[in-house]
């Protein structure tokens, strides 16, 4: 099920709120069971068969967590073996369902073997819940979080529907306490609802509109793609993926808040970054910190020799790229960022700090725009040709004029919505000392705007069929 669907907004969500809040607060366990049932139903909606896979993942992680906890005091080695086994099982499932077909096809193609490779359907959200499950067992192993004795709580942590299929990747230690004891408040519900409505509007009004343009352009013949359309396609895809994914994160964070959970932020206006390094501190932060804590630092991080540090960055970013999808394009996309992160770390950082901010913004936007072409291309050769077409300058085409005129308002809104204008404004207005006046100046206008955008988004939802979330395939 997707958030941007009629069934989710008007049936699932209303039923979930009704049945969840009808249970008295003191029956925390019962509330959790209600939430767990809805979460499993949410997952089962599109792929009932794969719920078995998720339950298997839950069992592996629950049992591993318990064993790691039991062994960690006196049997360190057994504890480590359990962790390794759990990691292998988790990653094995991910590797089989996500990468087997890709590698088998690549192998068959490379050696010219004449066999048909079986197509394995990718279970929705497997990349997200695998990483969450691993996070739990690793946190227990590292004593960052206690093990969970109640299997229902682990099931709830892994399957919690707000962040189940597209993140943010919630670390166990972030919500460990809240699963057991959280306090659903009117304040959280109101701000969560507002956050959800804004996220929904980002997805429906901005991401989908930009996505329609990007899809149209990426579907054209790349051989004869005019330069203006090539740029428009890359830029609109950048907006699409940003508003799609950050909108989804907003909805997840908002929903979490309504149910009393406080997930960490996943985006922080990445398009205003002045370097690739900064961009990745602002983009998909939950994935970045996951790789940092569970891969980069265990590899030695930056406290090693220069060569080893470069190696570590390359490993982390190749894996990051590959996490996004089973295609060489994703790997190339990860390596692309690794190269610029290394260059910035050792050469460009000082220069970028010195030059006027406008140039460093342009530098970063340029690199990220190119990166999304690699990301959104069906193959590397397509990506290279597409990027080549971006620099084959010529006349402005009628198609470009039409697409810009047709989507002018949305493009302008995307530009402004990418900048922290509302954040700055809120910060400014929050300095008002009188509380009533402050609420009147901040919460009311934001709430009214969110409600209006939510209603308009619903109109779009009813009217449009183009509403598949990009991040589903991850």
């Amino acid at each position: 099920m997707v958030f941007s669907s009629v069934i989710f907004i008007f049936v699932f969500l209303s039923a979930a709120f009704l049945l969840y809040f009808i249970v008295p607060k003191k029956f925390r366990g019962l509330r959790n069971i209600v939430l767990l049932i809805f979460s499993l139903g949410f997952y089962a909606w599109g792929e009932p068969r794969y719920i078995i896979l998720m339950l298997f993942s839950i069992i592996i992680n629950y049992v591993s967590g318990l064993l790691v906890d039991v062994f960690k005091e006196k049997h360190k080695r057994a504890s480590l073996i359990t962790l390794i086994t759990c990691t292998v099982l988790n990653l094995g499932l991910l590797a089989y369902f996500k990468y087997f077909t890709f590698f088998a096809e690549s192998f068959v193609k490379a050696f010219g073997i004449d066999i048909t490779v079986a197509q394995i359907l990718l279970p929705i959200g497997i990349s997200f819940y695998t990483f969450q499950g691993l996070s739990y067992v690793i946190d227990v192993y590292r004593c960052d979080a206690p093990s969970q004795k109640n299997p229902l709580n682990i099931a709830l942590y892994i399957s919690l529907f707000p962040q189940l299929i597209a993140g943010p990747i919630v670390r166990y230690k972030t919500v460990a306490e809240e699963i057991k004891t959280r306090n659903e408040t009117a304040d959280d519900f109101a701000s969560g609802a507002r956050r959800f409505m804004f996220g929904f509007a980002k997805k429906m009004l901005l991401a989908n509109t930009m996505g329609a343009v990007a899809d149209e352009i990426f579907a054209l013949s790349v051989e004869s793609l005019p330069f203006d359309l090539a740029w428009l396609g890359a830029i609109t895809f950048q907006f699409q993926i940003y508003f799609d994914f950050s909108g989804y994160s907003d909805m997840a964070i908002g929903l979490g808040k309504m149910f009393g959970f406080h997930f960490l932020e996943n985006f922080n206006y990445p398009l205003i970054s002045k370097s690739v390094t900064e961009f990745w501190r602002r983009w998909h932060m939950s994935l970045g910190t996951w790789f940092r804590d569970y891969v980069y630092i265990p590899l030695g991080g930056n406290r090693t020799s220069k060569a080893r540090h470069i190696f570590n960055i390359l490993v982390v970013w190749t894996l990051t790229g590959f996490w996004h999808g089973a295609n060489w394009t994703f790997m190339a996309w990860g390596v692309y960022f690794a190269i610029f992160l290394i260059l910035e770390k050792y050469f460009l950082k000082k220069l970028l700090d010195k030059i006027p901010a406008v140039f460093s913004h342009i530098y970063c936007l340029f690199l990220t725009t190119i990166s999304w072409v690699i990301f959104n291309s069906p193959s590397l050769s397509f990506a290279f040709k597409y990027i080549g077409r971006m620099f084959s300058f010529g006349q402005i085409t009628d198609r470009f004029v039409y697409l810009v005129i047709q989507n002018a308002l949305c493009l302008v809104i995307c530009i402004f919505a990418s900048m922290p204008i509302s954040k700055k404004l809120t910060q400014l207005l929050s300095k008002i000392k009188n509380e009533n006046l402050r609420v009147l100046a901040t919460d009311y206008p934001a709430g009214i705007l969110a409600a209006i955008l939510f209603v308009i988004s619903i109109l779009y939802l009813i009217n449009t069929t183009f509403n598949a979330f990009i991040y589903f395939r991850f």
């Binding site: 009629v6 069934i7 907004i9 209303s14 039409y402 709430g447 209603v455 009813i462 009217n463």
Partner: protein
């Protein structure tokens, strides 16, 4: 103040997500969407196989989307916003111009050889039909009508595809192919383009209006005069023009839920001296030609003419001195039929889109003197519907 805000925010949010399902439950169930011209989804039938492969439950999404309360009102609001507030050029695949509502054309790659090959294939089919007509002693005439978007192609903004290159190529090659097969035709583009063609077309519908139909009627009768089959022709003076006050709801206006202000009306011609007739639609006796609601506040559609598309319609005027006409084609025939029946002994109108019987069976049974195939220029190379004969 903060507490009041929280309370209001929660009430508004919950009202939005709870009110719609409650209203949907209470609302009357509909089967058909007039604006979208399609049947709405039916309640999904349960199947374990579909449930397990994940295709059953999403069908409920389609069902609910189709039957949600205030659906038409919400789509109207969406369309109104996009057309009038966001000022989009293209709304629901309709191009909004000051002069007409036109369809959005996706740019296409034109391969001349393919067009020529399709023209040859269609002309071969038409040649076979022409021969079959000759076998029963009938004169076959192909009547080509420019569709509204074709005739008003100059109304598209410069930066938008108006399909002119393709339509002109098809027109040229298609009639060249008919010439080479010796098939008789009337190409209304040649006539319309030299006249005040704007007055022949609806601004909110893809058809010509009654004036375009009347001009086509006179062109056909001019052509039939050569073979002395136009004895029953009437001139404009023989008709009363009736201008309807109802608001005409054209096919393109329907696609944008009437959300763009561009008024349009319908008219029809009726003989000053009534011509008695008997009409049978698939065997049912219906003695009407025009279908106009009494209430002028009610919107009307192109169905005013002949009541819309019918599988088969026989009209007998019982004047054996006049020839028998068989006409088939898409809805462009409907206003034309309201004029043509006045000039023939009998008229059989067929729409193959709604009919399983072949045109050849009708030819043998009805034994017409004149056979007209009426198609618009966007369908010259279509082998579906009335191109499937």
């Amino acid at each position: 103040m903060k507490k009041l805000y929280n309370l209001l925010a929660i009430i508004v949010f919950l009202f939005i997500i709870f009110s719609i399902p409650v209203a949907t439950k209470l609302a009357e169930n509909k089967d058909y969407s007039f604006y979208e011209n399609r049947n709405l989804a039916t309640v999904p039938e349960y199947s374990t196989k579909e449930f397990l492969n994940g295709s059953y439950l999403p069908k409920w999404e389609t069902y609910l989307s189709d039957h949600i309360a205030f659906r038409d009102e919400m789509i109207y609001a969406y369309t109104y916003l996009n057309a009038n507030v966001f000022k989009k050029v293209n709304v629901n695949d309709i191009i909004l111009t000051n002069t007409a509502l036109l369809p959005y054309n996706v740019p296409r790659t034109i391969i001349k050889d393919d067009v020529v090959a399709s023209c040859k294939k269609m002309s071969d089919k038409l040649s076979a039909l022409d021969n079959a007509c000759k076998d029963v002693g009938a004169q076959f005439i192909y009547v080509g009508i420019p569709e509204q978007r074709s005739m008003l192609r100059e109304d598209y903004p410069d930066y938008l595809e108006n399909d002119s290159e393709y339509l002109s190529l098809v027109e040229a090659e298609f009639f060249k192919a008919l010439d080479s097969c010796g098939i008789e035709y009337v190409n209304m583009m040649n006539i319309f383009k030299n006249e005040d063609y704007r007055s022949y077309y609806s601004v909110t519908d893809h058809h010509y209006n009654i004036f375009g139909a009347f001009r086509t009627y006179t062109a056909i009768m001019d052509y039939l005069e050569i073979t002395d089959k136009a004895d029953g022709r009437l001139s404009e003076e023989d008709f009363n023009l009736v201008n309807l006050e109802h608001n005409f709801f054209g096919s393109r206006a329907r696609m944008i839920y009437k959300a763009y202000p561009i008024p349009d009306y319908l008219s029809y011609y009726e003989p000053k001296v009534a011509i008695p007739f008997d009409r049978y639609d698939s065997g049912v006796h219906i003695n009407r030609i025009f279908f106009v609601p009494k209430d002028v506040n009610e919107d009307i559609t192109y169905n005013v003419y002949m009541g819309g598309d019918n599988a088969e319609t026989y009209i007998y005027t019982n004047r054996p001195e006049l020839p028998k006409l068989l006409i088939f084609g898409d809805s462009f025939t409907n206003p034309l039929e309201t004029l043509l029946y006045t000039s023939f002994d009998s008229m059989l109108a067929i729409d193959l889109r709604h009919n399983n019987k072949s045109i050849y069976e009708y030819l043998n049974e009805y034994q017409p003197d004149v056979v007209l195939l009426v198609r618009d220029d966007t369908c010259y190379l279509s082998f579906d519907g009335n191109g499937k004969f």
